[in-house]
């Protein structure tokens, strides 16, 4: 049952991603509405499938790569829907839904076996740490999409070749402000995730996890977003530089997310 719901959610996300890409070439209001409807349907099914899995395993379903990627997509879609209804950012779906689909698809490719949770992960810290981390990552995923939109729109304005998506993309200022807001949400979440992770590691293993590549990457990511916020607050850096930094930040998250698995061992080998 959980699997069927997951597959259906994946299908809806796929349809939404295709429509969202088609929107780049030929945007109509009807297309945008259908895309949003598919996202909402997919999200509802996805939510139920995650609850199923939670019930089946008895723990927050983020312990295997399959679950982690699925939960990551879920958080991103949640934020997308919030942004879509709060700000009505034109074409946001075209820059986010393909990413969501890729995440979901990679989740679908991975083993869906439900394994018993290893003893060292059996702690309430597990739920807190992972949910914080994923919500933070989802904010950064959104800020990545918005950052790309900013660069596209800025290219139109700077190069003076008005056309293509220029009319349909939001203003530079609103893209920049939404990006900033997303980072101010994501950064505290990431910070808390790192702190709770450290606490937990201290309790479970009696010390920080030295040399765990995931931890190192997280600190690098944290540093990138710290730079974004710092330069903005101190020197007022905004616009292109902020957009570029938020794109780099998210790429580093992706490297951490998928790269780690390829690199091998470590405590975070499952995500």
């Amino acid at each position: 049952m959980g699997t069927i719901l997951f597959e259906l959610a994946l299908t809806f996300y796929f349809a939404a991603a295709i429509i969202s890409l088609a929107e780049l070439f030929r945007g109509t209001k009807a297309m945008a509405r259908i895309m949003l409807l598919f996202v909402i349907l997919g999200f509802a099914l996805h939510t139920v499938s995650i609850i199923y899995r939670y019930a089946a395993g008895g723990y927050m379903p983020v312990s295997s790569p399959h679950e982690a990627a699925s939960f990551f997509s879920w958080c991103t879609v949640l934020l997308f829907l919030i942004l879509e209804f709060r700000y009505k950012v034109g074409l946001l779906g075209s820059f986010i839904m393909p990413l969501v689909f890729v995440l979901m698809f990679s989740s679908a490719m991975l083993s869906r076996e439900i394994k018993p949770l290893s003893p060292e992960l059996q702690s309430y810290w597990f739920g807190i740490h992972t949910v914080l981390a994923f919500l933070g990552n989802a904010s950064f995923a959104m800020s990545f999409g918005i950052g790309i939109m900013y660069l596209v729109q800025e290219h139109y304005v700077k190069s003076k070749h008005i056309g293509g998506l220029f009319q349909r993309l939001p203003s530079l200022q609103s893209l920049d402000e939404i990006n900033y807001r997303l980072i101010t949400i994501g950064f505290p979440l990431l910070t808390l995730a790192i702190i709770t992770g450290a606490f937990w590691a201290d309790k479970a293993w009696g010390g920080y996890i030295k040399g765990d590549i995931r931890v190192v990457w997280s600190l690098i990511t944290w540093l990138i977003y710290a730079i974004v916020l710092h330069t903005r607050l101190i020197a007022g850096w905004r616009g292109r530089r902020a957009a570029v930094l938020s794109i780099i930040g998210f790429l580093s998250i992706i490297v951490a997310f998928f790269g780690i698995k390829l690199l091998g061992k470590g405590l975070h080998v499952f995500l």
Binding site: Q153, Y156, V157, K158, K160, H161, I162, G163, F166, Q167, L169, P170, S171, L172, Q173, S174, E177, A235, G236, W237, R238, G239, R240, R241
Partner: protein, 421 residues
Amino acid sequence: MKILVVGLNHKTADIDVREKLAFDGAKLEGGLSGLKTLPEVREALILSTCNRVEMYANVSDIAKAYDSIKDFLSQFHGIDKTALEKSLYKYENLDAVHHVFRVASSLDSMVVGEPQILGQMKDAFEFALSKKTTGVLLNKLMKKAISVAKRIRTETKIAENAVSISFAAVELAKKIFTDLSTKSFMLLGAGEMAELAARHLMSSGVKDVIVANRTYETGCNLAKEFNGRAIKFEDFLREMVNTDIVICSTGASKYVLMKDDMHKIIKERRHKPVFIIDISVPRNIDPGINDVDNVYLYDVDDLKGVVDTNKQERQKEAERAERIVSEEIETFQRWQSSLDSVPAIIALRDKADAIKKEELDRLLNKIPSLGEKEKKDIEYMASAIINKLIHPPTAALKEDAEDKDILIATLKRLYGLNEKE
């Protein structure tokens, strides 16, 4: 019942001819009643704008009506008829419908997609309605034309992109800033085009206006006009730290703003974006400034480029609009043929026959004891009644009456005869 359009527009006549033939102000009423009293004209409407003068009419005979309208025009405006003929165009029936739809949708306008024509069309229609010079056909034509224009406006982007330099500047400003009403704006120097752009910006919500002019006096006057404040020209660099939009047209022979100045200003502004429009020729602002992050510089040629792209966009949208027009002509044609008398007569007869059958069946069921002969007699009487009842309207419709269209519409309404699509 034939539709005739006679007129002239910016493509067929120069401004002086259009001026002479315009039905402006008080002339419109006289013109309209004069047109309506022509013997071949049953319904009439006049559309008179600065780019076109057109007469829409429901006429009994196209060729005769066209001649009388030409005579009428040359008399009314005191113009030689042969000179007039050179500028006139004429459309009949479906071509006329096509033309009216295109005009309402602004496909025939000088600037394709301009919004004024639809309003002018509505005004012309309302005026004709108030003078009772239109009837079933022209009313339907005008209503349909207005709805086609609206459909095109919502389904295509024909009116979306700015096609004048000053509007293009506003459009760009809106894609840089979210809310223009919170932005401040500086007019550096004064020129006609700069003032026009300033006015467009202000009608888009910009409130905080600063004027910096070489002659302080002129600046003060202009500032008063815009409800802003004037500053000394030398102070404009300092003031730019707090200014989001700058329109420059100083007439200076060298750059008044250099890249290095801009670097300093943008740093002091904490990198808040600046939109600079340099309308002056020769340019007054170092073009290299556009390379500074968060600074967007447009000169006249850039804006012209934007306008050209937008015009091409509109042209593409116009092609889609033409397809919509063709579709809508079909629905109009269906409506028009429903006004033809034959289907109306058939519908009336069908209805009468249906009633006869229903009532006969009911009666024969009630009295099963009736013999064959009685049944025949009753049937005969029923047929005789309906035939006598529908004979006069049928005969009236078969005549080629002046007001046939009205009769058909009335008949349909009175008997509830539904049109078959």
